[in-house]
Symmetry: C2
Subunit: 240 residues, 2 copies
């Protein structure tokens, strides 16, 4: 009996780990995030208790994990991406540790490189970028924008679509060249994936109409995207 | 017929993706890196051609991928971690694209968050760190050390063990507090995993004797490690 904090991956259900899928298939209770693929939820045993996370606060989720864990159930907490990359998995793990409930972390494929890859963008590339910076873009006031504007390499912004224009204006005002290649990838790795590529100064306008979840990538690696398209780059081809 | 650039994950064979495992199980040719788990290589069909990467230069690998791809084989190029996070996957993808060989990228679980997680360290955590910076530590001269020393959040260093003392001295000399929590995780997610935790000014000495592959994590999130240990945190428990 244990609680498993499992990363579901970036969207495509084939990108969950073999270990994570095995745990979903044998769990007693499955508590899943809104962005987790329906196909993965359907892998749970028919008799398993399914709980959609949307209706619950973070405190309620943690309470549920502790309660089911204490009751001796095999609980899978299935989270989009990786539990520890902007996934609040640490908070859930701490709640379990403090309650004395055994748990295990099963990492997942984070969107950070998988979603750019699905658009033909490697976040690192020899001679182009050997540094990657990850930030969350839903609270731009919390960012150190002056340093970010000067940071070399690739900048990947999670949850950055809603305030994209504010972010790009702030980076350009602090010295990031307006011509820096940038991309927004919405619903990355899924059949409905959409990609917009434009210079930093124009990407917010180009991305109007895209819907979350979306990842923003800023840096010269975006310039490789047009060279990495092949007939199989269709994201639907990723599906298992 | 196609070439698949597949991420094998951070070490534990259970952490390959479901899609990646399916491709290994049905391939004609498997070209694999030294750090890929033996258990995954053994998943290839008995009649598949197996090629260990160690003996080959990067150019030779790319030539092999193009040649086998053109010959119509189903080729899996199995790389440690994620192909596009310090994995040189972009170079292999470019070689295939330029040769007109269809290919597909199947991302993997990168070490960046999975290896710290296996040591109880979330790279992001509410109120502690909302930014992650990834660098490669095998060429310290190529890093912007002054900016790195001032960058907020979590710093994750790939391939950083060999020159760890040089790196930590340089960061401290440029203003990073010597008391910043730091960790080295060697063979992360594998049964032989070893973890050393110490302040930045002492971590290089603490890590003497550890062997690559190793990931270095620097930042306040390392301070959460002692609070996230449970009876199931034994990395052997991760094995499928």
């Amino acid at each position: 009996m244990s609680v498993y904090l499992v990363g579901a991956g970036p969207g495509d259900p084939g990108l969950i780990t073999a270990r994570g899928l095995e745990l979903v298939r044998t769990c007693d209770v499955l508590i899943y995030d809104r962005l987790v693929a329906r196909e993965l939820v359907e892998e749970a045993p028919p008799e398993a208790t399914l709980v959609a996370r949307d209706e619950l606060s973070q405190d309620e989720i943690e309470g549920l994990l502790v309660a089911h864990g204490r009751a001796g159930a095999e609980v899978v907490r299935l989270k989009g991406g990786d539990p520890f990359v902007f996934g609040r998995g640490g908070e859930e793990a701490l709640a379990l540790a403090e309650a004395g409930v055994p748990f295990e972390i099963v990492p997942g494929v984070s969107s950070l490189a998988a979603v750019p890859a699905a658009a033909g963008i490697p976040v690192t590339h020899r001679g182009v970028s050997s540094q990657v910076t990850l930030v969350a873009g839903h609270d731009i006031g919390a960012l150190d924008l002056s340093r970010l504007a000067q940071t070399p390499g690739t900048l990947v912004v999670f949850m950055g679509l809603a305030q994209l224009g504010t972010l790009t204006d702030a980076l350009i005002a602090r010295g990031k060249p307006a011509g820096t290649p940038a991309a927004v990838v919405a619903s990355g790795t899924l059949p409905e994936q959409q990609v917009e590529i434009a210079p930093l100064g124009e990407i917010a306008e180009a991305a109007v109409g895209l819907q979350p979840p979306a990842l923003v990538v800023i840096g010269d690696v975006v310039g490789l995207a047009h060279r990495l398209q092949t007939p199989l780059a269709d994201p639907a081809a990723l599906h298992a």
